[in-house]
């Protein structure tokens, strides 16, 4: 608030000087002529800067709107992810593979994933991949002579991304010998 008040005072001062100009020009003195040129220059400069500022603001707003479109679903999907996790856990709890209940859950999960895919939301499942902190979160480390350092040993929880932005990283156990 104090800032804008200060600005007003400056603006008023500028106006004041401009108002005085005609009076100054009526006198024979040379220096007021220079002052008015200075003032015009100053105002032109100010105008240019304001134009640039508006341009920048416009560009930023376009980017902001694009982002809002692209990532607007982020928080909503974030809340839905536990539902998918639960379906996955339910699948794991079945002992036999041929079970109509299991099949039902499998199909539910699949249709759920299809819907997410339609909106650009894809799982991150880094089985047999190298650990990448941009996409994965290391929960713990474990020694395993058969695998190299920084290999993903086990995926505890799949991660999800929306338009290449992480909603949730994949939670993994990493090999460290």
């Amino acid at each position: 608030m104090g800032k804008s008040k200060d600005k007003n005072i400056v603006d008023d001062a500028d106006k004041h000087v401009v108002d005085q100009d005609p009076l100054d020009e009526s006198s024979t003195d040379n220096s007021p002529q220079e002052t008015s040129v200075d003032i015009i220059q100053k105002l032109e400069d100010k105008c240019l800067r304001l134009n640039a500022e508006i341009d920048n603001m416009h560009k930023r707003h376009v980017i902001d709107i694009q982002k809002a479109h692209k990532f607007g679903l982020e928080s909503f999907i974030g809340e839905l992810l536990p539902v998918i996790d639960n379906l996955e856990q339910a699948l794991k709890s079945f002992s036999s593979t041929s079970n109509s209940d299991r099949e039902g859950i499998e199909l539910t999960l699949k249709s759920f994933e299809n819907v997410l895919d339609k909106f650009g939301i894809r799982p991150i499942n880094p089985v047999d991949e190298k650990f990448d902190p941009q996409l994965h979160e290391a929960v713990s480390v474990i020694a395993n002579k058969e695998l190299a350092d920084d290999d993903v040993m086990q995926v505890l929880q799949r991660g999800w991304e929306i338009n290449e932005r992480i909603i949730r990283p994949a939670r993994v156990i990493v090999v460290k010998n």
Binding site: F71, V139, V141, V174
Partner: protein, 94 residues
């Protein structure tokens, strides 16, 4: 036109904002977060990780992951506070 930028260098999280139209506007980081964990890490491939990625790999790379570094700003490596915190082998190589 000169801009005003505010940086909150926090112990656990940091945040950055500019004044736009008289109102502060928080700048998002690359991951889209409004705050960034105050964590930095140096990987074995001499890559520097900052923020969330650095935090995610902390378990795999504890010796070269630094957090709450704000508490150590202005202190020397030989300082008791630094020694106490990193005496157990952390940041040995730096």
């Amino acid at each position: 036109m000169s801009k005003i930028i505010g940086i909150d260098l926090g112990t656990t999280n940091s945040c950055l904002a500019v004044i736009e139209g008289g109102q502060p506007k928080v700048i998002e980081n690359a991951e889209g977060g409004r705050t960034t964990p105050s964590v930095i890490a140096y990987t074995d491939s001499s890559e520097v990780l900052v923020g969330t990625p650095a935090k995610r790999q902390a378990v795999t790379n504890p010796k070269k992951t630094l957090h709450a570094i704000k508490r150590l700003i202005g202190r020397r490596f030989e300082d008791d506070v630094v020694k106490k915190r990193y005496g157990n082998g952390s940041i040995q190589n730096y």
